[in-house]
């Protein structure tokens, strides 16, 4: 296969060849970046929460009675909810659950010295102090959410408090490692500014109510603090297929126990809905990005096929002559394929540079990570394959041009 004749032919079609090259370059640059964005978002929405997501249902109740005894009400509600058939366990929490966006955080330090350091620095960065999300709830939280204790123990009944602040906590493994790098966090006393909190247990994974940055998304702690407000969230665990029925029964039960409350139907959800709501924007964006990627590739393929078609029509006579002087069908086919390979190749080289430039541009304006370099050869291969596929039909048609065309005038 000779490259020279192809190049000299292309010299006669400079404008069209350049436009096709540019098109391939733009496609390569955009598709590489868009696919990268899609992969990032897919990773993001797949983040594990650490809880038994498809067995949990959540219902929020807002008491509107004046001077009601919140504790007594919660206890009565919990007892009634527990009696619903299909409910394996139920707990009350104030409001926070992973990914439900109702967050409470607390600045906390591994030691008193660390806090002094933070005050000196006028920043918690670099002091060793952290800002974990704080979860609370009635006894049985660990089991109901299906958290895995990897060290230590669950809270003892005597450790739960209603007013004031509890002296013990269970923290996530991530928080333990960030708080006490290289040592065991179990039994350590953390300092929050006015008192010490002892770590009695460590759970494997518990995601925050709001994602921040990948490094700190699992910095959570659980306090044995009972919800003490007329607004309370009940978390029910049941078999996945029972969730809808359990939710409906729970709403009816709560109203029966005490009708002086508001249950917003929007706040009656299977946990999977909470998760879906949190990532709604990402899911939509993924759909949009995938659709536009396919659209881009389709348009590019159409462009390549359309141009190749034109060229085959235009060169019918030259093809006939080549056939007449001895070129085989295969020669003609390979000629068009090689031509496409060269044009797409030039486009891809330019496209790779553009892709990196576009990524750098997006990185400065949006919170996007750097494009991993292996995307570039993969993108190039995909475009080469697309080009060959698009050119196949016109090239086959060209290869079927009979030698006798050479003797006709066009």
């Amino acid at each position: 296969m000779q490259i020279r004749p192809i190049l000299s032919t292309l010299r006669h079609h400079k404008l069209t060849a350049i436009l096709l090259t540019l098109q391939v370059a733009f496609t390569c640059a955009i598709v590489c970046n868009v696919v990268f964005m899609v992969v990032n978002r897919v990773h993001r929405i797949g983040v594990p929460t650490g809880i038994a997501e498809n067995e949990l249902s959540v219902i929020r109740s807002t008491g509107i009675e004046k001077n009601e005894n919140a504790q007594a009400q919660h206890a009565a509600d919990l007892a009634a909810l527990r009696a619903i058939p299909g409910v394996k366990s139920v707990v009350a929490v104030s409001y926070s659950l992973p990914l439900n966006q109702d967050e409470s955080t607390s600045g906390i330090c591994p030691s008193k010295q660390a806090l002094d350091r933070a005050i000196q620095l006028n920043s918690i960065d670099g002091s060793g102090c952290l800002e974990p999300s704080v979860y609370d709830g009635t006894p049985g939280l660990i089991d109901t959410l299906d958290l895995h204790l990897v060290a230590g123990r669950d809270f003892r009944p005597g450790e739960y408090v209603t007013q004031g602040k509890p002296p013990v906590t269970i923290i996530t493994r991530a928080l333990a490692q960030h708080m006490y790098p290289g040592q065991s966090a179990l039994g350590q006393s953390m300092y929050d500014g006015d008192r010490f909190i002892r770590v009695v247990g460590i759970v494997d994974t518990l995601l925050r109510p709001n994602l921040r940055q990948p490094g700190v998304d699992y910095d959570s702690m659980i306090l044995p603090q009972l919800p003490d407000d007329s607004v309370v969230t009940y978390v029910l665990r049941s078999a996945p297929q029972d969730r809808q029925r359990v939710l409906a029964a729970a709403a009816a039960t709560l109203v029966k126990v005490n009708p002086n409350r508001i249950i917003n139907p929007k706040r009656m959800q299977a946990y999977s809905q909470i998760r879906a709501a949190y990532f709604q924007r990402d899911t939509t964006m993924i759909g949009l990005l995938v659709a536009s990627t396919l659209g881009l590739l389709f348009v590019t393929a159409l462009g390549i096929a359309g141009l190749a078609n034109f060229w085959v029509q235009q060169r019918t006579r030259s093809i006939g002559i080549r056939r007449a002087i001895g070129a085989t069908c295969g020669d003609i086919l390979r000629y068009f394929q090689a031509e496409n390979f060269l044009i797409v190749g030039a486009g891809v080289v330019l496209g790779v540079l553009l892709a990196v430039a576009l990524n750098l541009l997006l990185m400065t304006h949006y919170e996007l990570p750097r494009l991993p370099l292996w995307y570039l050869p993969v993108g190039a291969l995909v475009l080469w394959a697309l080009g060959q596929l698009a050119v196949l039909s016109p090239a086959l048609r060209a290869s079927r041009v009979p030698p006798v065309v050479a003797t006709r005038s066009v």
């Binding site: 079609h13 404008l15 949006y366």
Partner: protein, 439 residues
């Protein structure tokens, strides 16, 4: 001449229908994707309160007191103030107009107690209606005397008035708000900022503004047991407060908005604000250097990422998509025109100037662009409908408006001409004699 070129173009389009369809469709897809992204972007840019918000500013400062001292970081400006500070700023009357507000959500009932309506509204200290330019339908806003005497008065919107009383003009009636009865002194037309501007620090992804169904003096509302929607930032030893609690004395929950006309007024108010905040710090109330700053509405929204980055990214992506479609069509057009070099050569030989040939080809591509625009219309509508169906916060912004139509028309003609320039220039460049020989 123009209609001759038009007829020529039509005639040529008929000669190769599949190719023409391909060209038109490619342009239509590019235009439609760009229009969809642009419509959403336009709906989410511009002033949240047209004619008013360009002059509105929000006061921010690190107003944390000793009891809040658990985290010395002040990473982003905080607009929440205690009621006392908000009152002090409003009562100073240093701006053209000023008001402190907090979002509230409660139930409004009629006196019989048989009808009630869940309503969002603003608790305010100061002339809220005047500062935000809320249009009054009936009645009047509350006076300073009513505010200082904590009179139970309220302004509702026609939506609530209809629901509770079956009439728009509810002035003089009573509504139950919390544990007290409030007298309706004014009725406003339904009002919402185009985008979220209130309490952005605790905004969880809302983009389009909230309908505010009622306005009530803050102290009167607290007296009736109705507090803000979120308790804001409360001190460490504050009693546990939550959603709608009226026990907010230890919390920072109000935002102070001021209306300022000129640059000089803004600068003067900035100095006043810094002076106030520093005085509080020096007196030992604010625990940290307050870094008081005044933010314009737009800057404040940008800082708090009200319009999600996705919307900008979509616009960039759609622009890239359109660019690609243009390059694609330009390539196809070039090939298409160059195949007809023979015809061009004959026209040139018969005396047509380069300019004539250039114009002829531009008319043809302009026509194709217009056809692309016509096809893009239903595609844009489809794209907006798809976005509208998505349960994302900015779905409401995806609506087809008449000015979209004008933009689309202009865009499609521009696209048609732009795409034709290179190929048309190329085809009229060759000397006529050579082309006749080729032909």
């Amino acid at each position: 001449m123009f209609d001759y070129y038009l007829r020529l173009a039509l005639c040529r389009c008929r000669q190769n229908v599949p190719m023409m369809l391909l060209l038109v469709l490619t342009m239509a897809i590019g235009i439609a994707s760009c229009m969809t992204a642009m419509t959403i972007f336009r709906a989410l840019s511009g002033a949240p309160l047209p004619g008013v918000s360009p002059y509105l500013h929000v006061a921010t400062m690190d107003a944390r007191e000793a009891v809040d001292k658990d985290n010395p970081d002040y990473k982003r400006p905080d607009s929440l103030l205690k009621l006392a500070d908000a009152k002090a700023l409003v009562d100073a009357h240093r701006a053209v107009q000023q008001v402190a507000v907090a979002q509230s959500l409660t139930r409004l009932g009629n006196p019989d107690g048989d009808t009630s309506s869940q309503a969002y509204g603003l608790m305010a200290y100061g002339p809220a209606l005047q500062t935000f330019g809320v249009p009054l339908r009936y009645g009047r806003p509350w006076t300073e005397a009513e505010q200082s005497s904590n009179a139970p008065v309220v302004v509702i919107d026609t939506h609530v008035a209809q629901k509770l009383f079956g009439t728009d003009d509810a002035v003089g009636r009573s509504v139950t708000l919390g544990q007290r009865s409030f007298r309706v002194i004014g009725v406003i037309a339904p009002w919402a900022p185009r985008m979220q501007i209130f309490n952005l620090g605790q905004n969880a992804g809302g983009v389009t503004g909230q309908d505010e169904n009622f306005f009530v003096p803050a102290q009167a509302s607290l007296d009736a047991g109705v507090g803000p929607f979120t308790s804001g930032e409360c001190g460490k030893d504050a009693p546990v407060v939550s959603f709608q609690s009226a026990t907010v004395a230890q919390c920072r929950w109000m935002e102070t908005w001021v209306r300022l006309g000129t640059r000089a007024q803004v600068d003067a108010y900035d100095r006043f604000l810094a002076g106030y905040a520093n005085a509080q710090h020096d007196a030992g109330r604010f625990a940290y250097p307050p870094q008081a700053t005044l933010y314009g509405t737009q800057a404040w929204m940008t800082l708090n990422h009200v319009v999600p980055d996705d919307v900008h990214l979509n616009l960039i992506l759609a622009g890239g998509f359109l660019l690609l479609c243009l390059v694609n069509v330009a390539g196809l057009l070039a090939a298409r025109f160059l195949r007809r070099q023979g015809d061009v050569a004959i026209r040139r030989a018969l005396g047509a100037s380069k300019r004539d040939v250039f114009m002829q080809h531009l008319v043809e591509t302009g026509l194709l662009g217009l056809a692309g625009g016509v096809l893009a219309l239903p595609l844009t509508w489809l794209g907006l409908w798809i976005v509208h169906m998505q349960p994302v916060s900015y779905a409401d912004a995806a609506r087809f408006s008449p000015d979209t139509f004008v933009v689309l028309f202009a865009l499609s003609v521009a696209v048609g001409l732009l795409v034709g320039i290179l190929p048309a220039w190329r085809v009229c460049r060759q000397p006529p004699a050579l082309q006749i020989k080729i032909a």
